[in-house]
Amino acid sequence: METKCIVCGKEIVDRDTIGLNKKLIGKNIVEFYCIECLAVYLDCTVSDLVDKIEEFKEEGCTLFQ
């Protein structure tokens, strides 16, 4: 699936970023942010989001690689 960030147009190639968008915005969304633009949108740091991805993986969430 080819997905582009709705803000900067950057291609989102990893499943983790898609999964994170679904977790933090809504599971039925069809438009996605790249991790940098998602951090801006959510007013947090990219590091915060990377931590979230790791936590979701540890929980065994299948949205992540």
Binding site: K22, K23, L24, I25, G26, K27, L42, D43, C44, D48, K52, C61, T62, L63
Partner: protein, 375 residues
């Protein structure tokens, strides 16, 4: 680093500084074993005795009715299993469908042993009304276990009335009061209960310690065999520091209960008012007139509770959710299911639990954050 706002006080609470100070000597110089007869252990022994007396006085019990445990889960397991599995009496257990898993899982274990177990329904406010119990109870009921205050939605059960019904049918009554002790007035004589479970870390005490109240004269089997600690009912060297901390924290909470309750209710109303005025579509779950102060279960239409939890977390706000998602399904909690909450709202449920250490400024920030996420 952003300022963290802790609004998950139903999960655990911050250890009281007074409790910590009281604990320190027993973690350092007063390390004697309370069971030993030499003078070095005298201080420790007296500390355990005093803690038992303090805790008993906080719930209007006798000191010998208080048994120290490792926490609420152990107390619940002990109460249910010792009564239900102790003799040839094959009468059954009645509990509710909204209990904590410490009760529900214990009840399931008891059921697997071939003992009859029934789970009572609740009304839309999460209450086991007296008529619900009246319908199900009979002379084949040995024990009724209904929580005092629900952990997810805060509904306070009519335990006094339920206990009366249990006793008039020849059954014992246990209440899981983990969310209630230290937060609402708990008087075991007035409630009439035979057993009551509590956990220190829910009322600003340390983790890993709690107690089970057992009314004098009630026959209960020992939980752990071994030494003579806890009147021979729960063997194992006492966790003296934790026991002392628990007593100090409970006394502190009880002493300031009226003031804390009023302060917490003010903040609770402030939060609900802010959300209502902003036009956010939400439901507040739980009993309309009788909820544990600060326990605010909110369901937002069409949203996902887990999304809200993580978005709030990114803003430094700690809350819980009543619904967790995976890639395909949303698992709605047994409590939200039991009250019959519409899925459209249930999936978007979070629990904000305010405590005495929260501030009105924090509550305003929580309201701002929710409104910005939801709208």
């Amino acid at each position: 680093m952003k300022h963290m706002i802790y609004a998950d006080n139903a999960a655990t609470t911050k250890l009281s500084k007074e409790a910590l100070s009281a604990m320190m000597p027993y973690l350092e110089e007063e390390y004697g074993n309370a069971s030993q007869p030499y003078s070095f252990s005298r201080t420790v022994k007296k500390a355990v005795k005093k803690a038992r007396e303090t805790i008993a006085s906080c719930i209007n019990a006798l000191p010998e009715e208080i048994f120290f445990t490792s926490g609420g889960t152990e107390s619940d397991n002990w109460a249910l299993k010792s009564i239900m599995c102790s003799n040839e009496d094959t009468r059954g257990l009645l509990t509710s469908g909204i209990e904590h898993h410490a009760i529900l899982k214990s009840a399931e274990s008891i059921k697997k042993m071939g003992i009859p177990v029934s789970f009572l329904p609740v009304n839309a406010e999460g209450i086991v009304t007296p008529d619900i119990l009246e319908r199900e109870i009979n002379n084949k009921t040995k024990l009724v276990s209904i929580m005092l205050s629900n952990n997810e939605i805060g509904s306070i059960q009519p335990v006094k009335e339920l206990t009366g019904i249990a006793h008039s049918n020849g059954a014992l009554f246990h209440t899981d009061a983990v969310q209630a002790v230290g937060h609402i007035e708990v008087d075991v004589i007035s409630l009439g209960v035979d057993m009551l479970s509590a956990s220190a870390h829910k009322f600003n005490g340390p983790k890993g310690v709690g107690f089970l109240y057992v009314r004098k004269g009630s026959k209960i089997a020992p939980f752990l065999d071994g030494g003579a600690q806890e009147f021979g009912m729960r063997a194992g060297t006492e966790n003296v520091a934790a026991i002392v901390g628990m007593a100090v924290a409970l006394k502190e909470n009880i002493t300031s209960l009226e003031k804390s309750t009023s302060f917490i209710l003010e903040m609770e109303n402030m939060l609900l008012d802010r959300l209502t005025v902003s036009g956010v579509d939400f439901i507040r779950n739980g009993a309309k007139d009788n909820c544990a102060p600060g326990n605010i279960s909110l369901s937002f239409r069409g949203l996902e509770g887990e999304m809200l939890l993580h978005r709030l977390d990114l803003k430094g706000i700690c809350v819980s959710t009543g619904a967790a998602c995976d890639s395909k399904n949303t698992r709605i909690s047994h409590v939200l299911r039991a009250i019959g909450l519409d899925d459209e709202y249930a999936t978007g449920t979070i629990r904000i639990s305010l405590g005495k250490n929260n501030t009105p400024e924090e509550v305003n920030k929580i309201a701002d954050a929710i409104i910005s996420i939801v709208q």
